[in-house]
């Protein structure tokens, strides 16, 4: 087994390190995970890191400096499979929520003033696939242990992982939670990808949308439905954009072009 162990690299870019932390949070499986694979690089967890060819690169975080851009391209070149883990890598995350509004320079100045910082030129955060090809997306803020371990186990066995494609509402039905939209509370569930186990609605709290937009979403129709139910469109936009960043921005353009906005 050891000879064929897949070579894995875990890399963090701009984000909160929560997805790398979730790997370390697999306390019961950590020893097996390090045993069944060859973790070549995982800077947050160990100091003997070796770069080189990889079977799987797990990427957390968004790209927001020239240095990171260079590095993600270099990792892509030596990785057979590149997986974006977490909402920041998949969608840009909170730091990309205002992507493309033209206000980045001003926000940067308000935080850092005119001080010269010679680390690396920074730009507004974008998801990984804005720069390199991504083979698989495991979203989540943070990723779910079960979904992550399930995917890695299948990859190690040379099979294709199954990842959720449906919205949080499906998980809410499984848990028999009452629907908050009927109670007049705006919930991001219908727009958001499942995987968290509908954790917020299960705590009597509306879904905050932290997994990012779900696949095959008819945003325009969902948006109009929410509007009909009396929800303020601006609130809806703000809610779903908080985590969905770049990809929600694309969806919004789609809504606008269909004349759904206001």
């Amino acid at each position: 087994m050891t000879k064929q162990s897949p070579k894995i690299g875990v890399y963090g870019f701009t984000g909160c390190a929560g997805d790398q932390l979730m790997i370390l949070n697999c306390e019961d499986q950590l020893v097996d995970l390090f045993g069944a694979t060859e973790i070549r690089s995982f800077v947050m967890a160990k100091s003997d890191n070796h770069e080189g060819e990889l079977d799987v690169a797990l990427i957390e975080g968004s790209i927001s400096t020239e240095e990171q851009l260079k590095r993600i391209k270099e990792i892509r070149e030596r990785a057979k499979v590149l997986i974006a883990i977490g909402t920041c890598a998949c969608h840009g995350g909170p730091q990309a929520m205002k992507l493309g509004d033209g206000g980045y320079e001003e926000r940067y100045k308000k935080v850092y003033g005119n001080a010269k910082i010679n680390v690396s030129k920074a730009f507004e955060a974008q998801p990984i696939d804005a720069f390199v090809k991504v083979d698989m997306y495991i979203p989540g803020c943070p990723i779910d242990k079960g979904e992550f371990l399930g995917a890695v186990t299948k990859l190690v066995a040379g099979r294709t992982p199954y990842l959720y494609k449906f919205p949080v509402c499906t998980e809410c039905r499984w848990k028999e939670n009452p629907c908050m939209l009927y109670e007049g509370r705006f919930c991001g569930g219908p727009l958001t990808k499942a995987g968290c186990g509908a954790v917020c609605p299960s705590h009597n709290l509306p879904c905050v949308g932290c997994w990012g937009p779900t696949d095959d979403l008819n945003v325009s129709s969902e948006y109009n439905l929410l509007k009909e139910k009396g929800y303020n469109p601006d609130d809806v936009l703000r809610k779903i954009r908080k985590f969905g960043g770049a990809n929600v921005a694309k969806l919004l353009k789609d809504i606008e072009s269909k004349g759904a906005k206001k």
């Binding site: 909160c16 390190a17 370390l24 800077v43 160990k46 968004s62 909170p94 955060a125």
Partner: protein
Amino acid sequence: MKELNVEALARVEGDGGITVTLDGKKVKSVTLDVHEGPRLIEQLVKGMTPADDLNVIPRICAICTLSHRYSAIRGLEKALGITPPEKTQLARELMMLGENVESNSLHTFLLALPDFLGYPSAIAMLNDYGDDVKRALRLKKYGNHVMAVTSGRIVHGENPILGGFGRYPSKKALEEIKLKAHELIPDAVRDVELFASLDYPTYPEAEMLFMSVNAPKKQYGFAGESILISNGKEMNVEDYKKLTNERVVSHSFAKRSLYQDKPFTVGANARMINMGKRLDGQAADLFKQHYNERWLKNPLMNNLAQAIEMLWSLEHIPDMADKVMALEDPKIEQPTRQTGSGTGAVEAPRGTLYHHYEVKDGLIDVADIITPTAQNLDDIERHMKLTAERMLAADKKDEEVRLGLEMVARAYDPCISCATHLVRLKRV
């Protein structure tokens, strides 16, 4: 001129490096460089509702997610005139105990200990120190579990909200964490013994200044309305700017802090120095047994401080769980005003974390977040410089100097994601 670099500082949260610039044997400078990309969170939450802000700001850092949330809640509740019910307060204290156990076990064992024992990672220690590593993982898992029971999830739980909780933990869940805490206390005692037995090098030693919150009722704790300074002074948290004086430096996207033009330290060691006399239980006995003058000048002692603190947290979980389950679930307290300002200060495992908010007509107008690592960066650099000078004077090899510097940086349990919001040794 020569440069000694630690390009990517491993076993810390976030992307940083260390650069030491040497002129012959003279150390010209030592910098902790933060490469982590900027995120501008304080600007992004401007215009958001306080509830939306609470969804975003824990994402500054996964390891101190609940500290961020709690600090923001404290600041925002003051701004909006919300007085949280007693049960809410107690459940928040319980979640902070859980985060403390999780984060301190992660840092002491998985991140810091391998240096002292000469391994590249905790996983590499498995063959020789399997029992210790497994014990640490048990404690870490337990800390995570307490966080999940209280906050809804092990990382970025949304359950703690303004004025209350979405859903309070069930009696059954609280009974379970109580039982398990009793079971794990002996593990935590063994951890303290292990960390007390380590050899802490003297290279970084120098006079230090420490700050931490002053927990109410003369008890040890992780939140308060004033800040204790080890020079005997005390200051209201609303005056946080006088304590932290943030500034920007050229080698980092993380801001820096000085107090009266001097660097200072926050963290478990600062809490023990300012509030150690208030400890109780076995934690108090072990603190008395192992505390000495070196704690006041050696940042490496933070590792032992974290181990003792983890025991204290664990010993307090059963009592806190009892208090939470004894009370009826209160209704969520609502804002009494839509315009106001307030500052929250809590002790994240790695030190004091401030969240200051100004709310105008129900929307965030100003957010100012000052993280523990941002406050520690100047003191980390000061102690690294001393370490480099003394180790080079003692003719230590570059490899040893590198490790010595990394140990100092790691001892602070830095959270670089937080601060950006680490070793290069450069010879010039």
